[in-house]
Amino acid sequence: MTTDIHHLLAPYVLDALEPDERNVFEAHLAQCELCRSELGGFAETASRIGGAQAETPPPELRDRLMAMAATTPQERPVVTAMAQRSRLRRALPRIAVAAAAVVAAVSIAGFVNEHQKADDLRAERDEMVAVLTSSDAAMSVDASTGGASVRVISSPSHDAAVVVGTSLRALRSDQVYQLWTVHDGRTTSAGVMGRGPGMMLVDGIKGVDALAVTVEPKGGSKTPTSDPILSASI
């Protein structure tokens, strides 16, 4: 996959990648000067094909949008976006390369199913990539009986971590993996992970000592009902 990842640029520009490939490629793009240098021209080309399909929209759409804009707050300017990018590019540590490879290895199908909305998915994806490529990203790995492992890539500057479970076996349909944060001996749910391999974003890792994974009944539990099958310190 990584050997010919540059070849994904054209499909990427045409939006012809699967969501997980898109993630991987965007992580690649952040570090590949070659692909970035071609991106602008390709994107402009694709958007001209798109622009040539112009068709008059229904007139009500404009009124609706103007009304929505009047009541919708805007994102504040992202002053750091470019600075962050170039810093990231320069300082991109080996960890990010390793993390990108991990992302590549993981099917996020389960993850997609639990997040029907593409927007949510994209926002989480963006933050995952930000964590995976942050300059202070650190990885810890925990293997358990049966060879299953989770990797935790944590970034103090983002106060977030990405948990990657590549080798989790598929569970019965009435069970799920659930992720917990351990903090001063207290265990708090960080969310339901799904029934098989996947990855998950954990927000707010300040003060968290470790992450643990348990198998819970479908829908998840308020407190763990079984011993962790995996845990990783942060």
Binding site: A10, D15, G40, L65, Q74
Partner: protein
Amino acid sequence: MPAASRSNRHLGVAAEPTSPPGDDELLQRVARGDDAAFGALYDSLGSSVYGLARRVIRDPARAEEVAQEVFLQVWQTAARFDPARGRAKSWVLTLAHRRAVDAVRRDQSATNRERTYDWTPGPDHDVVDETVSLRLEHEQVRRCMEGLTELQHEAITLAYFQGYTYAETAEVLGANTSTIKTRMRDGLVRLRDCMGVES
């Protein structure tokens, strides 16, 4: 009185011709919360966004929803636009295309999308209110598309207009995936050069 108004009019014509702000300028004003600029940007790009969504999604009501989401996203995230990295139109259409493809994949995944060839030639351009320059740009796109090899054309069309992944495109065309990736790439290069887009 008539003389005065004539001379006013004359002065108006003689004064500095104020060209209307371009899309880039409008989008930057939108980022500062300028509703009027948002309306003007919609007037400039609304038909491109809606037309692209229609082409990919086909269903007019669904396309309208997607166009609405796109412009709302433009309103909310205009501050992310960086003119150094491309035109506003390109930025907006990139958002639009991705949303349209996501929508069509989401809608069709449930009904197991049918993989039929469908080379509809596109919307009826006679009813489209286009400026002359836009019309020329569209003409150029059509001409450049005709300059592609058949496989390049099919690969790009299936991906861009049908929302197929390159793997699905390969399957439909009975080619292997690396061939399709390559045809997408050399097709884009050919189009880029044909349209005179800076590489």
